[in-house]
């Protein structure tokens, strides 16, 4: 029985109206494509921190991290620890991000054109969008599932909830682009933080730290606290997530867009270092919620879908009033993520995939119209994909596999582009090919009844991900060394 009431509905309604008004109000500052895609590179440090923190925490984040806590205990927060370390390392050293921001480009593929040529830029754009859209495809349904479960709505309203959520986000993103995203991200950061804090304290008080640790000990033993000792995790889980974290920090389009929108390289790097701890928080807090669900709910109450364990718990323990703040916080988290992701992929489509067609010669007015249309089309895609795709297995596993379609190749390409003189277009093409082929093959095999067992039980997502990074690196090195030096110099010259 949910505690969602008219008081909570009013809080949520007020929040949505405030966000929409703020998001739409800044559309008058959007005069150029650069304003629409990267806010005219006018973003300062603290706005960058708030925006990145809001973007990288959505309902989908909360759902998969809580599921990880429910199924793995505290060890489920391992990817958060690794992501925080990767963020700090990259921001502190400037590894790859310094040359990337210094180059003054709008997207990563634009940087690749300088080193590997226009075909690699286009190909990079295609895999980034392919991986990104497949990854984001499950956001909407997951958000709808959460809201329906927590508010206690009839599941038949799931599609309507998804549509309303998407349209709200699409309106201000289409009109204001990155400027709207930054302003609404800021509001969402404040609301989201207040909600997360209040609910976490409530859970810690109601369930108690002793019960949380005792539950994890009883279900998973030492493995619930140490990923290397966990039966379903082990070294391959840690290695796969370490590689993923580093690649994500270096090339995840929404993260990179904050770096590129920063007013200078120093500010961009500071956004990285000072947001790094947030990447631990965004895992550990929902993991605690997931463990609390494991502690409070019986297996019969949770059923087969462990993804809904945490929302079911929240619907029971969060009282009226705080429920409104929680829903507003989660809507805030989801809207900031959806808007930023829609804009990210649209910037790559406009800048890199359509680049050969407009060649930077379209008028600002036409460029803006096309950019806005792309955002709207991505919204339509999300709606249909979210309704159609049946999610099998863990949500986090799905996200890592789809993300790796481009994270592995783009990560290796970026490192090679910045630090290896022999890297060239042959190596880049091979890396992109392997980087996309292995995760897609895994996804297809996971869906086919004849290969499902082999994909999920024999290989598994972690080994598949590690294999992707290894093959991509080998392809980069071998391809680059195979290309004759003369042809290499010629293509660089051209």
């Amino acid at each position: 029985m949910s505690h969602f009431s008219w008081v909570d509905g009013s809080i949520v309604g007020l929040y949505i109206v405030a966000t929409m008004v703020a998001g739409i109000a800044v559309r008058r500052y959007v005069g150029k494509v650069e304003h629409f895609l990267i806010a005219g590179r006018e973003m300062n440090l603290y706005l960058g921190i708030a925006s990145l923190a809001a973007t990288e925490f959505g309902i989908v984040t909360c759902m998969y991290t809580a599921q990880s806590g429910y199924k793995n205990g505290f060890a489920g927060a391992t990817p958060g620890v690794l992501a925080a370390l990767a963020m700090f390392f990259v921001g502190y050293t400037g590894f790859c991000v310094k040359p990337l921001r210094d180059a003054g480009v709008m997207t990563i593929p634009e940087l690749f054109q300088l080193r590997f040529g226009s075909r690699i830029r286009w190909l990079s754009g295609v895999v980034i969008v392919l991986g990104g859209l497949l990854n984001m495809g499950v956001f909407l349904r997951t958000g709808g599932d959460f809201l329906v479960a927590v508010c206690g709505f009839d599941p038949k309203y799931l599609e309507i909830t998804m549509t309303v959520l998407l349209v709200s986000v699409a309106v201000y993103t289409v009109l204001g682009g990155m400027l709207s995203v930054l302003i609404t991200d800021f509001l969402q950061f404040v609301v989201m933080s207040a909600g997360l804090l209040a609910v976490t304290i409530l859970i810690l008080v109601k369930v108690g730290w002793g019960d949380l640790t005792a539950t994890v000990q009883a279900h998973y033993g030492a493995g619930g606290f140490n990923p290397f000792l966990h039966a379903e995790m082990g070294w391959e889980y840690v290695v796969a997530n370490a590689l993923l974290s580093l690649a994500m920090v270096l090339t995840w389009q929404t993260t990179i867009q904050r770096l590129l929108a920063a007013k200078d390289t120093r500010t961009g790097r500071q956004v990285y270092t000072r947001t790094s701890f947030f990447f631990l928080c965004r895992w550990l807090i929902p993991v605690i919620w997931g463990i609390a669900a494991l502690s409070v709910l019986t297996p019969e109450e949770v059923g087969d879908n462990t993804l809904l364990a945490m929302p079911t718990l929240l619907s029971r323990v969060v009282p009226m009033g705080l429920m409104g703040i929680l829903i507003a916080a989660m809507l805030a988290a989801d809207m900031s993520t959806d808007s930023a992701y829609m804009l990210s992929w649209s910037s790559v489509i406009y800048n890199d995939i359509l680049g050969p067609f407009h060649k930077g010669q379209w008028s600002e007015k036409r460029g803006l119209l096309v950019s806005r249309s792309i955002v709207a089309l991505i919204g339509v895609f999300l709606l249909f994909y979210g309704l159609w795709y049946p999610l099998r297995g863990n949500l986090w596993d799905y996200l890592t596999v789809t993300g790796n379609i481009y994270l592995s190749s783009m990560g290796v390409l970026l490192v090679a582009c910045c630090y290896w003189k022999r890297a060239n277009s042959w190596g880049a093409a091979g890396a992109i090919l392997f980087g996309a082929a292995i995760p897609i093959a895994f996804l297809v095999m996971e869906q086919l009844p004849s290969t499902r067992h082999f994909a999920r039980e024999v290989v598994g997502p972690h080994l598949s991900n590690i294999a992707t990074y290894v093959c991509v690196s080998i392809a980069m090195v071998v391809g680059s060394l195979l290309k004759p030096q003369a042809a290499n110099a010629e293509s660089k010259g051209s």
């Binding site: 800044v26 500052y29 005069g31 304003h35 806010a39 005219g40 006018e42 973003m43 300062n44 440090l45 603290y46 706005l47 960058g48 921190i49 708030a50 923190a53 505290f74 927060a77 620890v81 400027l179 930054l182 302003i183 800021f186 950061f189 404040v190 933080s193 207040a194 997360l196 804090l197 976490t200 304290i201 810690l204 730290w209 640790t213 606290f225 701890f277 947030f278 631990l280 928080c281 550990l284 807090i285 605690i288």
Partner: protein, 51 residues
């Protein structure tokens, strides 16, 4: 020292981070928005004057 102290320390750090850093970032972020919009408005005026 309590068992599993590392997870307890990290959880406490997260709660403290959210209850302190958030307020600071919110105040400074609001100032950033103000200055960003001022710069963008000034840029638009300069473009209009140039044309």
């Amino acid at each position: 020292m309590p068992e599993h102290w590392i997870w307890m320390a990290l959880t406490a750090a997260c709660v403290i981070w959210y209850s302190s850093v958030t307020i600071y970032v919110a105040i400074r972020g609001a100032m950033d928005i103000k200055s960003m919009l001022q710069r963008l408005a000034k840029g638009s005026e300069d473009v209009r004057q140039d044309s």
